[in-house]
Amino acid sequence: MLTVVTPMVTGTSCKCLPDNSPCSLGLSKCEYAVNSQRPVNLDLRTIKLPNTAISSILHRITGVILFVGIAVLLYGLDKSLVSEQGFAEVKECLTSPLAKFVVWGLLSGLMYHLTAGIRHLIMDLDIGVSLESGKLGANLVFIISAILIVLMGVWIW
């Protein structure tokens, strides 16, 4: 990046714009951007989240939860397939409140990640990408996944 500010003389080409477009303030556009005194905040830790951003971060968090959950699910799958007795043990284990809670937690993560993921794919098709429909979509994801999560709870308990 250029940091040296070179005053522009009319007719001289810009330092870093490929199209040599005219420059304002005697600086090339990129020199201007780099040296601009506008406050810039790219610090994720201090940015407030609107509901679209919340839906996005939850998708991320549930993705990581699912990754951790794979080990638990594989363990159960292994045990349940290896023998009749293992299957019975897994079934027995799934009656304990703790196991139920863990399974419900994982299914909730999956339901949210799945709903938000499908919204993602729909938006990748360029559908619902305006600011308004984006907000609507995020709210729909909250509502649909909440319903699914409650249904999962009803099924488990």
Binding site: L44, V64, L107
Partner: protein, 122 residues
């Protein structure tokens, strides 16, 4: 700046596409399995084991396991690349990020091999 030499395919666009294709496979598999369990309450061992003994189910499961490995790797790569940066970690960021990503890769590989063993062990 965070460089992307550690991503899945050397190309962000290909990673992006792979993330989507694998997402569809994972959605299909998880909905199928959930639907199957829901549709067969009180399922016994024979039926459960029989399901996973089918060739098509093994193919479907293996495909999902491959999809899962790629999806999780690309996903965790994105997450680590976003947060484990010089801004949050200072000058050791690149090393820390590399190690964390390597750890994610190793864990995912172990899970993959374990999954294959489960599918072919029965």
């Amino acid at each position: 700046m965070v460089t992307n030499v550690t991503n899945f395919s050397r190309s962000g666009l290909y990673d992006w596409m792979a993330q989507r294709v694998t997402a569809v496979v994972l959605a299909a598999y998880s909905l199928f399995l959930l639907g199957y369990i829901l549709a067969n309450p009180g399922m016994g061992y024979a039926e459960w084991q029989g399901l996973f003994a089918n060739s098509w189910m093994r193919i479907f499961s293996l495909m999902s396991l491959v999809a899962l490995s790629a999806h999780a790797w690309i996903g965790l790569w994105s997450v680590t690349t976003d947060y484990l940066t010089p801004m949050t970690l200072g000058k050791w960021a690149t090393g820390v990020r590399f190690l964390v990503q390597a750890l994610c890769g190793v864990i995912m590989f172990v899970l993959f091999v374990w999954g294959v063993q489960i599918l072919w062990g029965i």
